[in-house]
């Protein structure tokens, strides 16, 4: 880092959060939300690489290029489990809230930091501890249950490694709850003067709704995971029918958390997209209230639809029908958001820098993911598609196509603020082209495979599925390459990027009104807010 206190061309001192204290120790003990955000970034990016390694392994195996299978069935099942567990619990769930959320939320509110900075740092270390515990299960006592841990397979028929993995997820849950709590209090208590609730940026509305889900749903997961541990070690009979338990009960518990969790993954992404689309259309967001309230509506309804994962589990027909209709209701606020974003571009002045390309990629992929969700919400149709590759394609379109595109867009968008430097726009665009193309080549054929009847979590398959699987594998390498280019672009930006101005995109929210990178406490003088967040008049 450059030495502190030199004059810049703006005339104020070049003292910012990056050089406020130096050395590794100043980072590890920092209470600054911006630094904590970046620490999450480094951690999540590392985990993403590991999860990606398993993904490529899975795909390479399924391409059946050689005469011999690449993996043994047990190894395959472990790869599938690690891939799913890492990507869900350690990448997509914490990705946007813990990393981008931590960095952006207080600045967007005009606050000096989150409400409980020490708790924020503690959340980070709890996350690390959870990730380490989970990782130890991969090294010592490997798990092959799939990331859903369905009983009685997980409790009665597989290794004790499950206990470690579950304990890891349990621990990470605390991190999630504490971060959510911190965000809610920060949003309510630390807004700058004049920042009324209807002037907070949509990113904050999204993080706020997410936090509510995190606080309410995560404890359910925690209890469920503890019960698995208890059943495995002490033999309490909650889920195992041999002990008098009910295996389907586990699915109710699990999805009661994990369905809302899907919105923990996608709502923050929607927040990012709202920011990107206004900023690059240079136009105020269309239907601010509709977007804000639909986030809260989605958060609320998401608690009532868990049973749509269980249409063929043996739950009653009536239950299936009720869950189906409620699920359809979630589709409406989702559709509202898409229409609002598109209307925002209407009569705007749109530019296409890398972050915007990722936002547009999000729109494209998320639309496909959302529409195929309607297929699955329809009971009669889902009976055919449940647990086939159609589902695999659907959730990758939503979670990877949606969340990961938003995450990438968000990184390129806020990068200048984070590091005071620009990334190469060309690098960002190349990365986008590769990821976007590769993604469709990988996952679109999986819709077809699902329609043809190929079940998911299959080590081996019928010959008629071969061609589509091979196409899918080729696509996965394009995605891998795309992320590699993205990573190089980011590292290059950090080391050699051109100096960024305070507001390179001409955006209106508060974080762009302070210097890049911001000073230790975000603003030299507390800002006063006099208008809505996207006032492009």
């Amino acid at each position: 880092m450059s030495s502190a206190h030199t004059k810049t061309e703006h005339g104020h001192t070049d003292h910012n959060y990056l050089n406020h204290g130096s050395g590794i120790w100043s980072w590890m003990t920092t209470l600054d939300h911006k630094r904590i955000g970046l620490m999450y970034f480094a951690t999540v990016a590392t985990l993403f690489l590991i999860g990606g390694f398993f993904a490529l392994g899975i795909r390479l195996h399924l391409a059946k290029f050689g005469a011999e299978p690449l993996l043994s069935p047990d190894t395959y099942n472990k790869f599938m489990t690690f891939h799913g567990a890492i990507m869900v619990f350690m990448v997509i769930i914490p990705g946007i809230p813990a990393f981008l959320g931590n960095f952006v939320l207080p600045i967007q509110l005009g606050a000096k930091d989150v409400a409980f900075p020490r708790l924020n740092l503690a959340s980070y270390y709890i996350f690390i501890a959870g990730a380490l515990i989970a990782a130890s299960s991969m090294i010592f006592n490997q798990v092959d249950t799939g990331w859903t841990f369905y009983t009685p397979y997980s409790t009665a028929k597989t290794s004790n490694g499950v206990i470690l993995l579950v304990l890891g997820a349990f621990t990470m849950g605390f991190s999630s709850i504490l971060t959510g709590l911190n965000f809610i209090v920060t949003t309510h208590k630390l807004r700058a003067p004049g920042m009324t609730m209807d002037r907070i940026p949509l990113m904050i509305w999204a993080l706020y709704s997410t936090s509510i889900i995190q606080i309410l749903a995560t404890p359910i997961l925690a209890i469920t995971l503890l019960l698995i541990g208890a059943e495995k070690t002490l033999g309490v009979g909650i889920f195992d029918p041999d002990l008098g338990g009910d295996p389907v009960l586990f699915q109710h518990f699990f999805w009661f958390y994990s369905h809302p969790a899907v919105y923990i993954m996608i709502l923050p992404a929607m927040g990012v997209i709202s920011e990107l689309i206004t900023a690059f259309s240079k136009k105020t967001i269309f239907g601010y209230r509709a977007i804000a309230y639909s986030s809260v509506a989605i958060a609320a309804v998401s608690f009532l639809v868990w049973g749509h994962h269980m249409f063929v589990s043996g739950q009653s027909t009536i239950a299936g029908i009720v869950f189906s209709i409620i699920t359809m209701f979630v589709g409406v606020p989702t559709a509202i958001k898409l229409f609002n974003w598109i209307s925002t571009m209407y009569r705007g002045t749109v530019t296409f820098e890398a972050p915007m390309l990722f936002a547009l990629g999000f729109m494209f992929l998320f639309t496909i993911g959302g529409l195929t969700g309607v297929f699955l919400a329809s009971t009669g149709m889902d009976v055919h598609f449940h647990d086939t590759y159609f589902v695999v394609a659907h959730f990758h379109y939503v979670m990877v196509g949606g969340t990961l595109m938003a995450l990438m867009g968000g990184i390129f968008y806020w990068f200048p603020k984070m590091f005071g430097k620009m990334t190469s726009d060309l690098g960002g665009r190349i990365s986008w082209v590769l990821i976007f193309t590769g993604f469709n080549v990988t996952f679109f054929p999986q819709f077809v495979l699902g329609a043809m009847g190929m079940p998911r979590r299959y080590f081996d398959y019928l010959p008629e599925y071969t061609n589509l699987n091979q196409i899918s594998t080729v696509g996965s390498w394009l995605i891998g390459l795309g992320f590699l280019v993205g990573l190089i672009t980011i590292i290059h930006g950090i080391l050699k990027g051109e100096k960024a101005s305070d507001n390179p995109w001409g955006a209106k929210t508060l974080e762009w009104q302070t210097s890049s990178p911001p000073p230790h406490e975000n603003f030299t003088t507390t800002p006063t807010v006099t208008a809505g967040p996207y006032d492009f008049r």
Binding site: T349, G380, D387, G453
Partner: protein, 320 residues
Amino acid sequence: MSWSSLIPATSFMPIQATEIAKEVDLLYAFLIIASLVSFVILIGGMTWFLIKFKRTSVDQKSAYITHNNFAEFLWSFIPLVIMMGIFYWGMVIFEKLRTPPEDIAAEIHVTAEQWAWTYRYANGKEFYSSANDPMIVPAGKATKLILTSKDVIHSFYVPAFRTKQDAVPGKLTQLWFEPKQPGEYIVFCTEYCGTKHSGMMIKIKAIPPEEYAAWYHAEKKGADTPADLGKTLFAQKACASCHSIDGSRIVGPTMKGLFGSNRKFADGSQAKADENYLRESILVSSAKIVEGYPPAMPVFQGQLSDEDVANLIEYIKSIK
């Protein structure tokens, strides 16, 4: 030929071996069209705006439009109506998939385990299947499966019939189908169940009803039918000391005409006496007490195997 065959995406579906498969595919074709239209409206609209409103000079101004109540109402209301339609259509098919018809030509107890299926016919024919022994069923008639599992959850999925049902340990679930034509249809396990999950396949072989009858009555593997075995158990376990089989009332309810009848319980609830109800009543009778009877029956949980229970159920079903 129907309009739906004009949609290329429907050609990826497996063959339509049942009437319901056709109905599912019709819904599928509709969903594909509706999705394509929505996709074109959304992404097409977006692309058009992107081209039309591309920024051309540095100081260009955007319009200032904050919202439009009428448009927002329309795009919430129209999707809602369409989705309610799709919900209803799906529900109609779902209920058909879930409700077996009255006249069942073959009823088979299917037990899953890692990594095979066993099927037992009403006359005692029994198969432990790896991929070679297909499940024989009559074509053109309805077959009902009563599913359970010995170890973990499995799922019985027949793509050609567009139907699927989990086999859950400790529970009985059911599935029915009516293959239109003789033929062989593949069955996958679709609930992840460990190492050989993807190898857990069998075939259903539908044969003409006369052939089926001949096969069914031909020399069988077990000597006694499940109902016979159940009858023996009924005597051995002294069930008869409390339950009559001729309709008269002793300590507990009679077995005569019990299966399929409507039961009223002491707590005011009701249920139809299906296989799952019988199973629960045998193993843990205190779970539901029939109105007007004392909760006097002992717990048989742990004393009867799954197979014993299945045999008892078959016997009770036979007491008409």
